[in-house]
């Protein structure tokens, strides 16, 4: 049984190299999401998530909708455990796979195959499972000999394929996706769409952020609208 619970969660990003808030910055806060502020020591921070409480239970497919800077990605990173909340508590039960950006932390100087191997080692799986997954990923990305070249030589589409395969082919209970449904060229995109559909079906909890409400309404059974780090609406 997977579960995600957020209790009065607030997330502040400290901003360095900015001494104080200027009029321009104050104006900027009106035009984009998030709240730029000072703390007691006059340090500048952006309040990305503002006192959110949330319960997500097994079987739920959640869509998070909001404008730029509304806190969608920050919320996913909190759930993924990449960020720790400034205040409040995040409780996650179940393994997580997150597809948060196209770079996916790939190391440019390593080859595709080395990136796959290191990522699988990171999962702490036994060597038998690692080998099986390695073969599965190699088949899926279909990059041929490019897999043996450094990732820095890849086109953006090839990088996407690799990152996507790494993110989805290792089984997890909770899947987090950040505006990432179109992958690589037409053929691979079709394959990826099938995989994504299967992923959504197989996962215990699925959360996706998007600015496309239509996609969210098709995939998800619950939509959360975020604005300036607060939940504006849930349906």
């Amino acid at each position: 049984m997977s579960k995600i619970v957020l209790k009065n969660v607030t997330l502040d990003y400290p901003v360095f190299g900015v001494d104080d808030l200027s009029f321009k910055k104050s104006f900027m806060t009106k035009t984009v999401g998030g709240i730029i502020n000072n703390d007691l020591k006059k340090r500048v921070f952006v309040r990305a998530i503002d006192n959110i409480s949330l319960n997500i239970n097994d079987g739920e497919k959640i869509g998070i909708y909001g404008s730029n800077g509304s806190g969608k990605s920050s919320l996913l990173r909190l759930i993924a455990g990449i960020f720790e909340p400034t205040f409040g508590e995040v409780i996650v039960e179940g393994s997580i796979n997150s597809l948060l950006s196209i770079s996916f932390g790939l190391e440019d100087h390593l080859s595709g195959i080395e990136n796959i191997k290191f990522r699988l080692k990171l999962k702490n799986l036994n060597s038998n499972t690692q080998n099986k997954l390695l073969n599965k990923i190699v088949d899926f990305v279909n990059l041929g000999n490019f897999l043996y070249l450094p990732v820095k030589t890849y086109s953006s589409g090839m990088r996407l394929r690799l990152a996507f395969a790494l993110a989805i082919l290792v089984q997890a209970n909770i899947i987090l996706m950040d505006e990432w449904l179109s992958v690589g060229d037409e053929n691979f995109n079709k394959l990826a769409q099938i995989k994504i559909q299967k992923l959504i079906k197989d996962s215990s909890i699925f959360i996706i952020c998007s600015q496309d409400k239509q996609i969210l309404e098709t995939i998800c059974d619950k939509i959360i609208i975020l604005d300036k780090g607060k939940i504006l609406y849930e349906k």
């Binding site: 990003y13 400290p14 360095f16 990173r77 993924a80 455990g81 990449i82 960020f83 720790e84 997580i96 997150s98 948060l100 950006s101 770079s103 996916f104 932390g105 790939l106 190391e107 100087h109 390593l110 080395e114 191997k117 290191f118 080692k121 990171l122 702490n124």
Partner: protein, 257 residues
């Protein structure tokens, strides 16, 4: 904290493979590969050995073992400090994309430097054999010496990494200071060459004690209890400081990148 440390240790296959791969990457497409490290170190030791032994008027057979082992250990210490300053910036991409135990990064940097140190051990073996340094069981004392140095190195990498992730100027300060530290540490000179108050630069130099516990057993010199005690105290202090820093700031590091 213990859970985080245990989890990172259990992931030894990852950081060892990562460290080994880092070295292979550095020497990719070269014929001799990582042995370039050994060759370049040996060249420096020979050149400096001949020049400084005559400048300082010290017999070559006394000077080369002192310089050789000292310089090889210095490479280890200085790389640890300098690579520690880039610890988190080097792993920024990963830290922002997946949940990962940060201690794994420290092990990666530590182990790649230990591997380089062991490559250079070939030179030390050659020095011991060529200069016919009397071999006895005391030589084995270098093993606990290296272990103590590595534990300290773990803490130094972590402390430098945390401070330099927050304050970017510090990495430049540390890099410059490390260059100065080379001349302040008895590597190309021997402590008996200076006297009086100038000896304070030896007495208050922690690296001197760490050098002693590894270098002296290898070149058949007495280590002295004081070196072991000081090294042990510094190691404990560094580990305590590191874990306090890590406990206080580990949640914030990702925001500093």
């Amino acid at each position: 904290m213990i859970k985080i440390l245990a989890e990172s240790i259990l992931n030894y296959k990852l950081w060892f493979a990562w460290a080994w791969n880092d070295i292979l990457q550095r020497y990719r497409r070269s014929i001799l590969g990582p042995f370039w490290i050994t060759i370049s170190s040996a060249t420096v030791i020979l050149c400096l050995g001949f020049i400084y032994s005559s400048m300082l008027n010290v017999p070559l057979e006394n000077y080369i073992p002192w310089l050789g082992v000292g310089l090889i250990l210095w490479y280890f210490f200085s790389s640890i400090i300098i690579e520690g300053t880039n610890l988190f910036t080097e792993h920024e991409g990963l830290m922002k994309e997946i949940r990962i135990n940060y201690l794994i990064f420290i092990f990666r940097v530590l182990i790649r430097n230990v591997i380089i140190l062991f490559h250079n051990m070939i030179i030390i073996a050659c020095i011991i054999l060529y200069f016919d340094i009397g071999l006895n069981f005391n030589i084995l004392l270098f093993i606990p010496g290296i272990i103590l140095c590595s534990i300290s190195a773990f803490a130094v990498i972590g402390i430098c990494g945390i401070i330099c992730a927050r304050y970017r100027d510090v990495s430049h300060i540390i890099t410059n200071f490390t260059q100065l530290l080379f001349f302040l540490t008895p590597i190309i000179w021997k402590p008996n060459l200076i006297e009086g108050r100038k000896l304070l630069i030896v007495d208050f130099n922690p690296l001197f004690y760490f050098l002693n516990i590894v270098r002296n057993p290898l070149i058949n010199l007495e280590v002295g209890l004081i070196s072991w005690v000081v090294s042990l105290i510094i190691t404990i202090l560094l580990i305590v400081i590191f874990f306090i820093f890590f406990y206080l700031y580990r949640k914030k590091i990702v925001f500093w990148l």
